[in-house]
């Protein structure tokens, strides 16, 4: 039986501070990048995220588990976006987290305004690149050392600005492999 999971669900948590236009643009970019249907649909509320009382940040790993459970049947992957700062234990912070080869990923816009007041376009580019980055992890792609590849792990916003919103040729092959594997398995 062919699975119904064929859609990439983009799930804003509360108001991620992007505005309707940017969200719409993000959805378009994701659709173009993966060649899959997208759907903008909130799955959890901001009050469902419980910031750690001492760190005042949200531990992202349990959020991913919740997203996986709440994802609708047609969702192949789910990308959540929040304006809250994320962390995983023993690390000071993370920009986002993804289930490698799994269903869910999350992106925080909290640190995307680092630097000297980024312009609207710079901010948009950062969101798009890191959203593609996190979603690609769910397609089993790991970090890439090519500084221009979207899968490059960036240590600063300057590095995010420098990288492109495309995959390098290696990562492109690996994504194609994963898409073929999913197609063989009945999804997408």
């Amino acid at each position: 039986m062919i699975s119904k999971a064929h859609t990439l669900v983009i799930s804003p948590i509360g108001d991620p501070g992007l505005g309707g236009e940017l969200l719409e643009n993000l959805e378009q970019e994701i659709r173009k990048f993966f060649g899959l249907e997208t759907d903008l649909r909130p799955l959890i509320e901001e009050q469902d995220l419980w910031p750690d009382p001492i760190r005042r940040q949200v531990h992202s790993t349990p959020v991913l588990e919740t997203l996986s459970i709440l994802s609708p049947p047609e969702a192949l992957k789910v990308l959540a976006i929040t304006k809250l700062d994320l962390f995983i234990p023993i690390l000071t912070h993370v920009y986002g987290e993804a289930q490698l080869g799994g269903k869910a990923c999350i992106l925080s816009t909290y640190r995307f305004t680092d630097g000297l007041f980024p312009g609207k376009e710079t901010f948009r580019c950062r969101i798009v690149k890191e959203a593609l980055h996190e979603l690609s992890h769910t397609f089993n792609l790991r970090h890439c050392r090519d500084p221009f590849c979207v899968m490059h792990y960036c240590r600063s916003m300057m590095e995010v600005d420098r990288k492109s919103n495309q995959l390098c040729r290696y990562c492109a092959v690996l994504l194609e492999d994963e898409m073929k594997r999913l197609a063989k398995a009945g999804t997408p």
Binding site: I90, V94, H137
Partner: protein, 447 residues
């Protein structure tokens, strides 16, 4: 070689899960342990490059684990994870051989830079070890020796395939002489006047392997002060042996596939295509078909490499060559060490024939070298051989090879205090092979 093999040891599930996931996304292979005891058990079965070890745990502390791990395998790099209050213990850990300590919570960049640094150091160490081995191989195994049917059929095959320009895949256990077979193919081919270039794919981290193979343009990266030719370019007109092909990363597999398809490549940072004229021979001791099933090796690359393939037989399958090999190595080492040894006793030869030689010809050569060095008279006696056990002088009657091997491995491990590196050296096999055998036979250090 892609990411590192990392063991995260922490008694908090959430730390293991989150940190493990983060490291996996960074391309590393991650395993976790919830206690010091579990970590030691895992280290007994698997070889890790890096241990991320929490200092404070119930039961065995991180410090205890560090000491035991370093005792067994000094090459493993251990990073201690500590809270602010435990800094004195972290300093003590550094004195006991920890590579570094991280104060939690730490910046993800800090962890990433540290792991890169460790991988770089480990790669340098492996490369040095490889060059030493290569030097030894050159002086020891100038030619392949054997009259057995198993080896003769390999020689026949080499004669037949050498004149073709087809890609060859040589399989076989460690120490069986895959490199020698590749060199023989080159020597007998029309490329024999050209270079024979060897790359040990397992010895380099991904980015170093890329610049080793493809070379780089001046300015391609910070250290690229001048343009450097890669080994593909250096092999022009000759043969390129890609040893340990099973160890290369997915990225390198994609690059190699392109090279095999059209023999065109680019230097790192270069835009000009370079066309090379070389024959590729690949060698591996890994089961590549299994690696394909596990998703760590590309099927399309495998078929490109596997145009012609053959396996080098393990020494236990051509024991009839042992007397000939023994004679060859006896004279060779007697000459090298300037010792008047020129005979092998019947009993010593019997010992050699009874033993299984898990490290194959390489182990055999090491045993002969040791026998020549430690021997007192003109004749090699059983007690001069590292494999000799008095109770077997008349042969391990009624015992299977497996039983004999288990016992021998166990006794060498015991002799070295379960130091895997030293044991592997004595046995003439590499550490990963020894780890595999320890796992297979459930050989563990008594707690």
């Amino acid at each position: 070689m892609s990411g590192a093999k990392i063991l995260v040891v922490d008694d908090e599930l959430i730390v293991r899960k989150s940190l493990g996931g983060w490291l996996e996304r960074d391309g590393h292979k991650v395993d976790t342990a919830s206690s010091g005891e579990e970590a030691l058990e895992k280290c007994g079965n698997t070889r890790y490059d890096i241990l991320l070890l929490d200092i404070k745990m119930e039961g065995l502390s991180g410090l205890d684990v560090l000491k035991k791990v370093k005792e067994n395998d000094p090459d493993v790099s251990v990073v201690m994870i500590t809270a602010y209050g435990s800094i004195p213990s972290a300093i003590e850990a550094m004195k006991s051989g920890a590579y570094e300590y991280l104060l939690k919570p730490f910046d993800p960049d800090e962890l990433m830079v540290l792991i890169e640094k460790i991988m770089h150091h480990q790669a340098e160490r492996r490369e040095t070890q490889f060059l030493r081995e290569q030097y030894k191989e050159r002086t020891r195994f100038e030619s392949m020796i054997g009259q057995s049917r198993a080896l003769q059929s390999v020689f026949d095959l080499i004669e037949r395939i050498a004149p073709t320009d087809s890609t060859v895949l040589i399989k076989g256990e460690t120490g069986t002489g895959k490199g020698l077979a590749a060199r023989a193919i080159h020597t007998k081919s029309r490329r024999s006047q050209g270079p024979f270039v060897v790359v040990n794919c397992g010895a380099f981290p991904e980015h170093l392997l890329e610049s080793e193979l493809f070379g780089y343009q001046k300015g391609a990266f910070t250290d690229a002060k001048t343009t450097k030719k890669g080994r593909l370019e250096l092999a022009h007109g000759g043969t390129l042996l890609l040893d340990e092909i099973g160890e290369i990363s997915m990225r390198m597999q994609i690059d190699l596939l392109r090279v095999l398809e059209d023999h065109i490549f680019y230097r790192v940072g270069g835009t000009q295509p370079i066309e090379g004229d070389f024959r590729i021979i690949a060698a591996t001791n890994r089961d590549l078909e299994r690696a394909i099933k596990e998703g760590s090796f590309r099927e399309d690359l495998y078929y490109r490499l596997n145009v012609i393939s053959f396996s080098m037989p393990p020494l236990r399958d051509h024991k009839e060559d042992i007397p000939l090999l023994a004679e060859y190595f006896l004279h060779r080492f007697a000459q090298e060490t300037n010792k008047p040894v020129d005979q092998i006793s019947r009993a010593a030869l019997d010992e050699m024939m009874l033993y299984d030689w898990p490290g194959n010809v390489r182990e055999f050569a090491n045993a002969m070298e040791r026998a020549v060095v430690v021997g007192q008279g003109r004749k090699i006696l059983p007690q001069d051989l590292p494999i000799f056990r008095p109770e077997y002088v008349s042969g391990p009657k009624g015992r299977t090879l497996r039983e004999v091997e288990i016992e021998h491995l166990g006794s060498i491990l015991k002799e070295t205090g379960w130091n895997v590196s030293r044991s592997a050296d004595i046995l003439g096999i590499d550490r990963s092979t020894l780890y595999d055998k320890m796992k297979r036979y459930a050989l563990r250090k008594p707690v």
